[in-house]
């Protein structure tokens, strides 16, 4: 079913009108404008990576919310590889999700990674020293060279407002911009005005909830916010039988350049890149490898063609 442009635009406008306004909007806008301006000249790519799951509050004074499973591993890893490829990265991430260069940390690792030496100086055990040093050094480099801008979100309201701000700011970069939408975004939400004000009481038996559909923002993003950018979206399903069909549909319906199809059971091992020219399976060679290394490598090449020959993509064929 095709999206009706007028009703999609109206639904998006209504969503933003009713959403609680982003805190720190002014500060975010300023740092974003400075970042994009810094990278507006030159030939390098600029990518917006979105990462982690959005929450859907169920109460205005929020105690309960619906969340989407996502550790943020894919977005954090991809950010590292885009930086390595020379991209400037705007990393829109869920608060508390995995961060670039910190992915290697075991859970609750902070204290387990450190010990006090004989003179009470803080030490990292020899076994972890190499990875910790590389992480500190790569992270410092990205920050010091102004190549990484981190913008956090928690709710679906914050996420979509940030995405709109970033995509429209990046529009001035034309084809040099890439949107890499790896965040797990809720399909359903409770509109702010129909939300319970206080914590929902538990005394009255079972709880019935009705959730509305989140407007199809990918369509608006492609059409209005960033029409020239190279757009990569992700589709996650648990049922392999419907996954590729859904990815194909999203590709056409929203005008994406690539839809990356993931299956929950093996998303770390293999994905399928779906484009208008066919499908390409990307698999990692071993458990020690990051799938994101190959994935970003392929996307950087495709994006480079998109920059130099923006109209040639329909003719490019894959042989995978």
């Amino acid at each position: 079913m095709d999206v009706d442009p007028n009703s999609a635009a109206q639904e998006a406008a209504a969503f933003f009108r009713a959403a609680p306004p982003l805190r720190d909007r002014g500060r975010v806008a300023a740092s974003l404008a400075a970042f994009v301006a810094r990278h507006s000249t030159g030939n390098g790519g600029v990518v917006c990576v979105t990462s982690g799951g959005t929450t859907v509050p169920l109460e205005q004074r929020c105690v309960r919310y619906i969340d989407n499973f996502s550790s943020g591993q894919r977005g954090a890893a991809s950010t590292e590889y885009f930086l390595k490829a020379g991209y400037a990265v705007i990393f829109i991430h869920r608060r508390g999700s995995k961060q670039p260069y910190c992915r290697f940390l075991p859970e609750d690792s902070f204290l387990d990674f450190f010990e006090l030496g004989e003179d009470s100086e803080i030490q990292v055990p020899q076994s972890h020293s190499t990875v910790v040093k590389a992480a500190i050094s790569n992270y410092r480099k990205a920050i010091d060279e102004g190549l990484l801008l981190k913008l956090p979100f928690t709710t679906i309201f914050e996420y979509l407002q940030l995405l709109q701000m970033v995509a429209t700011s990046m529009n001035c970069l034309g084809h040099r911009g890439m949107l890499y939408l790896a965040a797990a975004v809720s399909d359903f939400y409770v509109p702010w005005e129909s939300m319970a004000k206080h914590k929902i009481e538990s005394a009255g038996g079972p709880l019935n909830m009705q959730l509305s559909q989140v407007p199809k923002m990918l369509f608006i993003l492609r059409k209005n916010w960033a029409p020239s950018a190279f757009c990569v979206s992700f589709k996650l399903e648990t049922d392999p039988n419907i996954l590729l069909q859904k990815a194909e549909t999203a590709l056409k319906k929203y005008g994406m350049n690539v839809v990356v199809a993931n299956e929950l059971a093996n998303y770390k091992d293999t994905v399928v890149m779906v484009t208008s020219n066919g499908r390409r399976t990307v698999s990692r060679n071993s458990k020690e490898d990051d799938l994101e290394e190959q994935l970003t490598d392929l996307l950087v090449k495709m994006h480079s063609e998109h920059i130099t020959q923006p109209n040639s993509e329909d003719h490019q064929k894959w042989t995978s």
Copy 2:
């Protein structure tokens, strides 16, 4: 309304029968048994602190879930103060929530806290050095002396199974045991057998969900699992007008020794301890203080009376 013991027991049994079994149950049981055995002699207190929010999966192959807001700050801080007071602590915590001795960490702080020196050695900036050193030293001490057992959970199913295991194991400690139930536990859930197997599809308009009530486990805990322990539960509301009444009701209904009443707007600044002998407000003196220091101090005193004069509590009066 009083709880009917028979139907409460039946509902609890049905919940556990249908719940997906705890992974690593054997390993958890072994470490728990060893911990309790080590502290089964002597006069010291043993407290089970629960912390963080439980999730309610909406799909068996879970992509979406309902979560309860809780950073785990209260549980982590209280654990530190119970350890300082000489208690052995079983810390049942939500994965990824705040951890004892790491509460001071700013978000995503790992890399911001460290730098590489001139000889590429890892350094902590002078400004953070004192707190990081104290944290490492206190944490190591608690672990090395066998005073802290950390058990993680994510879902409501995992949480309640862990709580049952810990409470029943602690029953052999009699009055020396304390349960300090600070976790934010969901009131509603989707029974496993009625849960969607795959990710719920978003194509079909609004989503209607019916959630069942979680059985009143506090009642079962007090009655069957740990009848002699000193039981402290928490009540969080956003509406101050109903908070104390709900705390009073929970106190009587579930036979708690103390219910700590929190209001979402100011739970870090002030709480009310509700007991059968009256109410006592506990407030922190400044933003630099932990409310948990006073709270645990009062509870340790009450628990000490519970140990020496287990039947005298009904006659104890507060003058606050």
